[in-house]
Amino acid sequence: MSGVLALLGGPRSAALHLGLIAVLAVLQFVLAEYHHIAMSRILVLACFAIGFNIAFGYTGLLSLGHALFFGAGMYGAGLAAQFLAVAGPGAFLIGLAAAIATTLIAGAIALRTAGVSFMIVTLMFAQAGYLTVYYFGAYTRGDEGFVVDATMRTLFGLALNDATVRYWIALALFAVCLVGALAVARSGLGRVLVAIRENEERARMLGYDVYRYKLTALVISGAMAGAAGAAYGLLFGYVGASFASIQYSILPLLWVLMGGAGVVLGPFLGTLAMFYLIDLTSGVTTAYLLVVGLALIALILFFPKGILGTLREKLGARGASWLP
């Protein structure tokens, strides 16, 4: 039992994170239909952001290509369901495997660079992936995308187009990713990742194989992104090229920056906040990307630690905060 508590970062942290999952479980009985659907989407996209945070927030790897991993998961699952007639769980696993394989290959190459070069290489890989979707337009139907057949969208007999089923599955995936991220952050692995972010040369001279650790972080990150992509495609039934576009590499960055990079709850909070920020401003403008742009600049200029990063600094005055 104490092992589990330690994994969750001690009693306060365990209470906070498990409490959030419980609140979200109850919330679905309260939420109005619009918010109910919105929350299912937010939960899935938050998994994408949680994955991004493992690479960016903890390891300091600023990838501009995570759409490639999200897209690999989505297309892996969607195409399997559509053309191989693999239903729910099988399609999800195929998507997950595709994302992991893609991350492994792209990461192994991109990690030979660092900093700005790493950003550009990942951006280019993702762009190549996006164009590949077009190149195989006969199957993917490019921009237009395709609707995943409802008969393939089942999980152990439950229909995925049922809103309640969808919410539960989204929440389950979210819980797995959140607890997984918490465990990584609190483990020896997490400590090494942060060490690499803080001072790579020092970590190397403590005997850590920095390249291998970075690749590990990236694969965990890509797996979560891919799981989110696969789930998104299967739960909401649509697979399209826009999900593989640059925009979907920028969005997780924005969500993580807003919620707080390197904080386990940051990605969820950022995804939630950004969703409702765009929702609120949609009365003023339909050009929601304008809000995205303004938010990016405002965060970088005035709020680089994001909501929870700033809060954590206030909580733990001397770097020994309990908020993981």
């Binding site: 600023l62 501009l64 190459i109 991109a110 030979r112 660079t113 900093g115 700005v116 070069s117 950003m119 550009i120 290489v121 280019m124 890989f125 762009q127 190549a128 164009l131 590949t132 077009y134 190149y135 920028i250 960055l253 920056l257 403008t285 050009a287 990307l289 304008l290 995205v292 742009g293 303004l294 938010a295 990016l296 600049i297 970088i300 200029l301 680089p304």
Partner: protein, 293 residues
């Protein structure tokens, strides 16, 4: 058409694309070379240049040649002013941190693009070419304006080269590029140089776009491809090397034009983006750069 003339046509189209690309990429390369930052909003400055060109010509409503000339002057000036302001307001405050700058310029990208969408709208609009004569070749006629674009681009690049190597301002830029701290010690106003370089980089993008508007219509999403191609060119040419940039622009522009005619343009772009990634990984000094000792 036979293969020979067809190839000639493809090559000429490629040369026009290469000329515009060279001017645009030169701007990106200049900013990277001197400031060591990547400007992701470069493509949007290009788009802004084209949209303002349309706006100037249609607002003036004079003879196409006059209107075009006005656009050629006004558009880069406005774009330069906007870029300069953005640099003062944002980039100076994040101290040109390379990663933060990329995030900030992504923000600028969306702001400019969506602001244009909200004001200019989603339509594509043409600018009339300043003159209208065709050169008659034995196999096909060819737009004289397109040849003018090649000439103008060449002149522009000569002007940039002259400005960098023969003027005091250019000297300051090169000194800053060589070593920021030493330049500061020699009383070179490094901050002003940075602001200026960022503005000039954007102006080059705008100039490339003004040249292109009579051929290609102005549209709020048109910045995407030039950005990507400029990235490709700057990286393959060797980050920060102006000579490499021009050389790479000619090669990439020509081959992009030719491959797109004969093969799938999507495949051409996939190959080009992957090539860039591999160059950055295995030959970070670019194809034309010397490996540093």
């Amino acid at each position: 058409m036979d293969f020979g003339p067809f190839f000639l046509l493809a090559a000429m189209e490629g040369a026009v694309g290469a000329a515009v690309l060279a001017v645009t990429a030169l701007g990106l390369s200049l900013v990277f070379g001197v400031m060591r930052v990547v400007n992701v909003a470069h493509g949007e400055f290009y788009m802004l240049g084209a949209v303002i060109a349309w706006w100037v010509t249609s607002l003036l409503g004079v003879h196409p040649a006059l209107g075009f000339l006005a656009a050629l002057i006004v558009s880069p000036l406005i774009v330069g002013a906007i870029a300069g302001a953005a640099e003062r307001l944002v980039l100076t405050r994040i101290h040109y941190d390379p990663e933060a700058t990329i995030v900030a310029t992504i923000g600028m990208l969306y702001i400019i693009q969506q602001a244009v969408l909200m004001t200019y709208g989603p339509d594509a609009r043409p600018v009339q070419p300043p003159f209208d004569f065709r050169i008659q070749l034995p196999w096909f006629g060819y737009s004289g304006y397109k040849l003018f674009v090649i000439l103008a681009a060449a002149l522009l690049m000569l002007a940039v080269w002259w400005g960098l190597t023969r003027t005091r301002v250019g000297l300051m830029m090169r000194a800053t590029q060589f070593d920021r701290e030493t330049a500061r010690a020699f009383a070179i106003p490094v901050d002003t140089v940075y602001g200026g370089v960022f503005a000039v980089g954007a102006m080059l993008a705008a100039l490339g776009a003004v040249l292109v508007t009579p051929i290609q219509q102005a549209h709020y999403l048109m910045g995407h491809d030039p950005l990507l191609l400029s990235f490709i060119v700057v990286i393959i040419g060797g980050l920060g090397s102006l000579r490499g940039t021009v050389l790479a622009a000619v090669i990439i522009g020509m081959s992009d034009g030719i491959i797109s005619v004969f093969f799938s343009p999507t495949l051409a772009k996939i190959i080009a983006t992957l090539a860039v990634a591999f160059v950055l990984v295995w030959r970070p000094q670019g194809l034309f750069g010397e490996r540093p000792a």
